[in-house]
């Protein structure tokens, strides 16, 4: 059936970064199988971090080769017969993903001074059962997290480095499936975590089904799923232009296909109206995973999106390009508006950051809508700036916790007693954090300022570049809309900063927070509610449970747990990067400029 088969040439050296990460995932699974419990966690962490670090090195080496060579013979960016295409741009995206994944993994690895990581001892156990208790007491650990992280990272790296829509689909699944699982593994607030996973999974599967159907339509039209292709096997754009697509003339087929593919990408990016999963999943997932997901997935999604769009809009007939561009503009405006407006009324820090990420997706789309080399560059820088701020911000969130107060010390004094519970995510609990943990608060404020785009932070340079890209694409009015949205966005970031730094954590504040939490608990959000729920025979928490919970909640105070090192390192690196990129963005901008030299 295959008349003449020639084995594709495989440039193993060029594939090395990808293989190291995925290989580390495979080895991680074997580690799970064979390494004894006592050293398993240490082994997994070492393996994961070493693999990511090695990948960074490999990417840097490869960068020198393909950017420095100026297209020297023997150095090709088309690998495995075109299935993988590591252009400088893709390589830059990969590098960003891996570096952010490294920082994210550091946060994941931190057990904090409470001695527990963010993951359930056995995620499969039913919350509140004796089996779960047993697992907790036995000190079981869910170290599968690390191989899953590796697979997700590998999937993201492949996602941005392929010209082949099918491979993109496979990569999409390789990156998504581990994330679905990771979302379900939170140690506390298990119900929320599971819910997040279920929603993410169902919607993600739905979106990827739309994506692959789009691929099917494109295949039906063009007879290929490669976008650019090469001389022997021309891709979609070549076939459309040369008019030798099998179903030439049925343009509606290819446009519908491309739109569906875009939907899949916009879903991952969290753009309105495909954003609905974002707040729920970000809020429910274990916080370190949220940080990883928010940063790395977004890089992968927007990287793939900008690549596909740029290729198509430049390659296809102008009227098709104009249609696609209009779609992106409309989505960008919707996304910015919804992200900032709904973000402004959030009362939960994780949801707030989630809406912030939606808003950022909008700003990114402003850059993308420019559809020029400037937008590729702007997107690269924006992702670095946004990524470090996001990983850092969620890293800070992991350290702000609730703690039970031992009866008799209900004054909420800063005693070291009491059990550290989950994260104190309600905004009212963050009031006056500045006094309790000045450094942490300063770092968090810095990340928020960067997200708000205040000068001398990375976010400012990033937004500047993004809007500049839109202007370069003759979309100055879109840039104006973007600036307006940024102004509104500043409002909700500053609100949090003011809350942390200038609002005293007064007693009434504490009570108000407890009240709010009790309210939430009545609807079952808190882990206390969860405990209550599990004990009261798995009935969804009703009024009776709520009163019970109220007394319980009132006896918790907010505490800041110390990092065991990794998370602190990650937060510090992110903070320094945010500042340095704000003051000396030159080198990174230059790198980004080199990444777009050979398009795309």
């Amino acid at each position: 059936m295959i008349p003449d088969f020639t084995a594709p040439l495989i440039d193993w050296a060029a594939l090395a970064p990808l293989l190291v990460v995925l290989g580390a995932g495979v080895v991680g699974v074997l580690v799970e199988a064979f390494v004894p419990d006592a050293v398993r966690r240490a082994t997994q962490i070492t393996l994961a971090l070493a693999a990511l670090a090695a990948t960074v090195v490999l990417i840097v080496l490869r960068w020198g080769l393909i950017v420095g060579s100026d297209g020297a013979p023997g150095v090709s960016d088309v690998l495995v017969g075109g299935t993988v295409m590591v252009t400088p741009f893709a390589l830059a995206l990969q590098g960003t993903i891996v570096v952010l994944a490294f920082l994210g993994a550091l946060v994941v690895a931190d057990r904090t001074s409470s001695g527990q990581d963010a993951f359930a001892p056995t995620a499969a156990a039913v919350p509140g059962t004796s089996y779960e208790d047993l697992a907790r007491r036995a000190g079981l650990q869910q170290t599968e997290v690390y191989p899953l992280l590796m697979f997700a990272t590998g999937g993201m790296m492949l996602f941005v480095a392929t010209d082949d829509l099918l491979m993109m689909f496979v990569a999409l699944e390789v990156l998504s499936l581990p994330l679905y699982v990771l979302c379900a593994t939170a140690r506390r607030r298990r119900l929320l975590s599971q819910e997040a996973a279920a929603k993410y999974f169902l919607l993600g599967a739905f979106a990827s089904a739309l994506f692959i159907f789009g691929v099917a339509l494109i295949y039906g039209f063009a007879g290929t799923v490669r976008l650019i292709g090469d001389e022997d096997k021309p891709g979609v754009i070549r076939r459309v232009l040369s008019g030798d697509a099998p179903l030439d003339g049925m343009t509606v087929l290819v446009v519908a296909g491309i739109l569906l593919v875009l939907v899949g990408l916009l879903f991952k990016l969290g753009a309105v109206p495909f954003h609905a999963w974002t707040p729920d999943v970000y809020a429910g997932a274990p916080t370190p995973i949220t940080g990883f997901m928010a940063a790395c997935t977004k890089v992968a999604a927007v990287g793939a999106l900008v690549k596909v769009l740029y290729t198509l809009v430049v390659g296809l007939p102008p009227e098709v390009g104009e249609q696609l561009r209009t779609v992106v503009i409309v989505v960008a405006i919707l996304t910015m508006a919804l992200g900032t407006v709904v973000g402004a009324v959030q009362t939960d820090i994780k949801r707030l950051l989630a809406y912030s990420s939606i808003a950022h997706a909008g700003f990114l789309l402003v850059a993308v809508a420019g559809i020029n080399l400037e937008s590729l560059r702007a997107v690269l820088f924006y992702m670095v700036a946004y990524g470090v701020a996001t990983v850092g911000a969620f890293g800070v969130v992991t350290l702000v916790r609730e703690r039970t107060v031992v009866p008799g010390r209900a004054d909420g004094a800063d005693g070291e007693d009491g059990v550290v519970l989950g994260e104190a995510t309600h905004l009212s609990q963050w009031a006056g954090l500045g006094r309790r943990a000045p450094w942490l608060t300063a770092a968090f404020a810095l990340f928020l300022l960067s997200m708000a785009g205040i000068p001398l932070t990375a976010g400012f340079v990033a937004k500047f570049g993004a809007f500049g890209a839109a202007v370069a694409g003759d979309l100055w009015w879109l840039a104006v809309v973007g600036v307006l949205a940024s102004v509104v966005a500043v409002f909700f970031y500053v609100r949090v900063i003011v809350l942390m730094m200038f609002t005293p954590p007064a007693e009434e504040q504490l009570l108000a927070g407890a009240e709010a939490r009790a309210q939430e608990a009545a609807t079952g959000t808190g882990d206390e509610a969860e405990a209550a729920e599990a004990s009261s025979g798995a009935e969804p928490a009703g009024g009776g449970v709520a009163t019970e919970t109220r007394t319980e909640v009132a006896r918790t105070v907010v505490t800041v747990v110390g990092s065991r090192g990794p998370a602190a390192v990650a937060i510090a690196v992110c903070a320094v990067a945010t500042l340095v990129l704000g003051v000396f963005p030159g080198p990174v901008l230059e790198l980004a400029g080199e990444a777009i030299k050979f398009v795309p």
């Binding site: 295959i2 799970e32 199988a33």
Partner: protein, 120 residues
């Protein structure tokens, strides 16, 4: 006898005879001593869940088995086309497939070590 489809027809006939014959034979000559356990729904040897939710639909536990099944089922999807074109794909195909099988083994090993196959 040169028609290539004749062996296929023969094969199908044999299969049909065996399948139908087996059922028929057991119905005719098998002993008919029923008890409660035998009248219950056959659920892979596991005790049936008393209250099936959703009005007699399958209890969700069985999806667990389904998951394990699928892991091993899916490799065939790739093995089959490879087998068809084994000769053309030559060494490259062989090596690639060996790699694929090695990877498939990894989750198998994981599941085995983690007690995934400790049915009883």
């Amino acid at each position: 006898m040169t028609n290539p489809y004749v062996p296929v027809l023969v094969l199908m006939a044999v299969a049909a005879v065996l399948a139908l014959g087996g059922v028929a034979a057991s119905a005719v000559i098998g002993p008919k001593r029923y008890n409660r356990a035998k009248l219950d729904a056959y659920e892979c040897g596991i005790e049936p869940t008393p209250h099936a939710t959703g009005g007699g639909r399958l209890p969700i536990k069985y999806y667990l088995v389904a998951m394990t099944f699928i892991v091993f089922d899916i490799e065939v999807v790739f093995l089959y086309p490879w087998a068809v074109d084994f000769t053309t794909l030559a060494t490259f195909g062989l090596v690639a497939m060996l790699g694929f099988l090695a990877l498939i083994t990894v989750p198998f090993v994981y599941e085995w070590r983690r007690g995934g196959f400790d049915w009883v």
